[in-house]
Subunit: 360 residues, 2 copies
Amino acid sequence: MDHYYAVILAGGGGTRLWPMSRSDLPKQLLPLVEDTSMFRVSIERLAPLFPVEHIYVVTGERFADKMRADAPELPAENFIIEPEGRNTGPAAALAMAVIGQRDPDATVALLTADHHITYKERFRAVLNSAFNVAQEGYIVTLGISPSMPSTGFGYIRRGELLSETDGFQVFHSLNFTEKPDPQTARQFLRSGEYSWNSGMFIWRADLAMREFKRQQPVIHDLMAAYQQSVDTPKATAKLAELWSQMPRVQLDTGVMEGAERIAVIPVDIGWSDVGSWDALFDVLDLDVDGNGFRGSSPNRIVVDTKNSLVYSDKLTVTIGVENLVVVDTPDVLMICRKDRAQDVRKVVDLLRETEQDKYL
Amino acid sequence: MDHYYAVILAGGGGTRLWPMSRSDLPKQLLPLVEDTSMFRVSIERLAPLFPVEHIYVVTGERFADKMRADAPELPAENFIIEPEGRNTGPAAALAMAVIGQRDPDATVALLTADHHITYKERFRAVLNSAFNVAQEGYIVTLGISPSMPSTGFGYIRRGELLSETDGFQVFHSLNFTEKPDPQTARQFLRSGEYSWNSGMFIWRADLAMREFKRQQPVIHDLMAAYQQSVDTPKATAKLAELWSQMPRVQLDTGVMEGAERIAVIPVDIGWSDVGSWDALFDVLDLDVDGNGFRGSSPNRIVVDTKNSLVYSDKLTVTIGVENLVVVDTPDVLMICRKDRAQDVRKVVDLLRETEQDKYL
């Protein structure tokens, strides 16, 4: 494990969990499922597998202080600060450049900061296997067994079996498909050949740089130019200069879809992208009535309440209600029927259109 | 009208509109129906009928400053401050003693600070008629036509017709009945002979003192002793001294049930005691979907929401919900199904039992 690294890509924003997630307080900084932030949970579930020196974070300056406070055990130099968000492609390339410079034999797992994983031990086991497969020159992805024909995820099609290791089957990956239409999604589910793309990739840093060179030469050249400045006094200035020329590219579509030698390990780790309020019902510990209560105040009075989720930091009283999502923040109160959680996006759009940015 | 006075009994507390109404912020101080407090509304609806010098308020010291601020046009000496709450009997007797001392020919309407009246002009008209009837030595009550067999109100039975005046029929009152059981309430409603006791009484101050003397001699004697001190420098000290011996007596049961020569004027003034959250649906201006929104923030986003009442001072978003009462205060959030509003009382009881007084 001497050359194995984990990188948590934690620079993203998002408003699907509005009004709790905001532009300056994204999902990964919220204690949505456990008692600490999703970012902190992401760090902690890696701890048994990596020395803290091998856990990296890529994020932007505006979230960096909160993340440093959330993960004080990580070395300062393991926080890689993007001068500006340019999507996951440049973020991944930057991490590979920095880690590859420090350890040319590095193999790196690109992981997420805002996804839930229920079975943490199995996650670490499959990650360990993926690192070993990655030594053979594969980009290894963790494939999530789809539970429904979702149109919100990318899909990965399995090809021939490459190997079995530690109880996990490793398949050659035939292709990536970005978010399909409903009919295609149903075909994928029926075929049994597809996994959801979890966005977790494990590959050698040198292979990563080669793939960027082949498919995203602009990103590659900028990061190759940066590599010589890593850990020098000029690093920050140099990165800022180069980053201004950085294109916006998504890792999945810009690199993975066209990559060679991709392997997929289908696995059930109780994964959820926690992409909407109703998704939280699947990952929270609910009480016997199907209710979940979260927030800093332990005070609540619950009378005949079912299948409801309440995020509130003050005394909250519910009487005779069911199937509700209640989110109370200092400046916004939202009460949404559980099966209408997707409509939160429309509310966010409306706020954007009407320039009520203070609520975003 | 030279000797006609209105007294607003505004000293009461109550928690049926918890969590908005609190021990230090009772219902009458809240802008529940209109844009100003119910107390302020009570003052304003009297204004066309009385000079401000003839409008009195009885309350306790802890609410007095807020009420003075709410009704700055009233003379300072028209705020009669009870040293301590001893229920409505002593409050009424105190008002009668003070006003009777200042004007021995006074006729006084005892009114409430926390009830809603939709038809204000008709209210003033019936009040005017009641004053005239009171000159003939009657205690005149305004009787509300019952809309359902409520067990929450007292009832007044009509006897023979005494007179008709300005379009209002005045009846001799046969008896008062305090909150009946459901079966009795249904009989009352069917008989057509009963009105709800609105708690509004109009009578001459000298008659009032005689009724107290006959039925509540302790109260009478204390207030007779106080009367000589009214408007002297010793008034406050004297009242405090006498008040410590004052029994707790309800006006309805302690005086009205045993009073002679009671007249009732049945009238529809769109009266509501606003005794629970669901009662507000009947008195608020609702939108086409049956929703009512109140609070200091004009900001709300309403998606597919029906028959719901929201009291909130911040941006509130409702999506796909119906038949809800939502009350957001700085330290408590309540979400209650409309037809369960009576259960708020149980929550208040629970808070009291568990000594969570800060929420009461």
